[in-house]
Symmetry: C2
Subunit: 293 residues, 2 copies
């Protein structure tokens, strides 16, 4: 892959941002990489790992003159970042992001960006339960999906360049309406995380005699939830709030189904339970067949 | 390890039973192994894999003359098996099991077994989402916990022999009150499975346009749930019904917590969300430290 951008600015460079920076370095996609983060610790790690040519605490300084600005912070920081970089963006610059919610991103950034700047929101569906630039790795994206949610009228060439970048990272790239994206991710990602955080929280509140044994005997299913629930709390707080409507809609469906299961258990309805429990193997098989397992 | 039992009978020999049989063969723990199952397919696989010296469809024929009877069927079959083997058990025989619920096992079997026969209920906390004797493997138990729940007055030598058997399989063995076992497993295993089955069921009911994309983008958390929810539906139906009281008690706590999260999301209570989401990393760390991750 040849160079795609003369200068790339990362605003926020944690698990996902740093993994993308590693791809850019590996594949020589960027002439220069500038990294911006709030904390000294993050920037020190970035320098140590040589993930950027320059570092700064100032989003405007990072974004100035960049061909591509990658916003990879928590979602709640987007609006402030948009305000701080809007005036310095050069004509023709592309602004993209890696956030897990897309309607909120469009709402936050689109009104702020000057005409002539291309907004191409993106969501690489990949990650681990770890955080920070030291936890990133270039292969994180391989064979996973990246969803781009450009709004109508977005410059096709800008979309194509962002697509090329993610393809270079090994991703399968697709485009989607932001609203549809948020609904799909509410069920595949946001609700599972909400539930995992909740059940691990429930266990945390158990009496001490029980709690120590929960840890000891976690092999039976619980430990998968604790892995999911070990993810960054601020990241997830922002996701749940930014995608509130879709998360609440899916949560409502889930609690209806859970209440039906609860009733079947209480009244010993073996047939109902077996029927419901049998349905789920098919979807697992589809996922295995789709090589997403 | 030297021979522990002259003759071992497996009543039921699926994922767990066949894995234990493999351990017994590897470590020469049994002079002879007799396997009993309802289906021809299971017994054919057992013969093909040489997991038993003899096979039969008749629990009484299998149990007759055995020093150790391992019940490894679904929980709902226990009472019927108890009735069928009670009269043929030899004095001094040990009856054990591998079931995931223990109060129900004691209730089902203890009244049926003649005096002089030792009941040592057991639960090796290990497994995969696969089923049947072909899916078993001897290393399944390595470094995992096995919980024995003998009732007061059970012969100490009988308990020690069952313990030796599981230690030979590589397990850490502990004893526990059956009631306490059922509460611990309700939160570490039964509730996580109930929730995983439910959310995968919720996804199954989505409109088709959404459902195909749930499969495509499952990498974001959902696929861990589908793996859990791919487990044997009849097995889990029986677990939920056999451990009804503890499962309903833990489910009640969980739904209270989930409702609180739902409310915090609806009203945009960022501080509440962050506080709850931050608590869960500690328990994950404990599990990693306890080497159960």
């Amino acid at each position: 892959m040849s160079q795609l951008f003369d200068r790339v600015a990362f605003i926020g460079i944690g698990l996902i941002g740093s993994s993308l920076a590693r791809v850019m370095i590996r594949d020589k996609l960027a002439g220069e990489i500038v990294a911006c983060a709030r904390s000294d610790a993050t920037l020190d790690t970035v320098k140590e790992l040589k993930l950027a040519d320059r570092v700064t605490h100032d989003p405007a300084e990072a974004a100035k003159g960049a061909d591509l600005v990658v916003i990879a912070t928590h979602l709640s920081a987007y609006a402030e970042i948009g305000r701080r970089i809007a005036d310095v963006l050069k004509p023709g610059a592309i602004v993209t992001d890696v956030g897990s919610v897309k309607q909120a991103v469009v709402r936050a950034l689109k009104p702020l960006l000057p005409s002539g700047v291309h907004l191409v929101p993106g969501h690489p569906v990949a990650g681990t339960e770890f955080s920070g630039p030291a936890a990133g790795f270039a292969d994180m994206f391989r064979d996973r999906w990246c969803i781009l949610t450009p709004t109508a009228g977005t410059d096709a060439k800008a979309i194509a360049r962002v697509r090329q970048m993610w393809e270079s990272a090994g991703m399968k790239v697709t485009t989607m309406d932001p609203e549809h994206h948020d609904m799909v991710l509410a069920i595949t990602s946001h609700l599972p995380h909400l539930i995992a955080f909740t059940i691990v929280g429930t266990a945390t509140d158990l009496e001490d005699t029980l709690k120590s044994e929960v840890i000891k005997f976690s092999a039976g299913g619980f430990r998968d939830f604790t892995r999911i629930a070990a993810s960054d709390p601020v990241f997830w707080r922002d996701v749940f709030l930014a995608n509130r409507d879709a998360v609440l809609a899916m949560l409502q469906r889930f609690t209806e189904d859970l209440t039906a299961m609860q009733r079947a258990i209480r009244y010993g309805e073996a047939d109902t339970l077996e029927r419901v429990l049998s349905r789920t193997r098919a979807i697992r098989k589809s996922i295995v067949d789709a090589k997403q397992a």
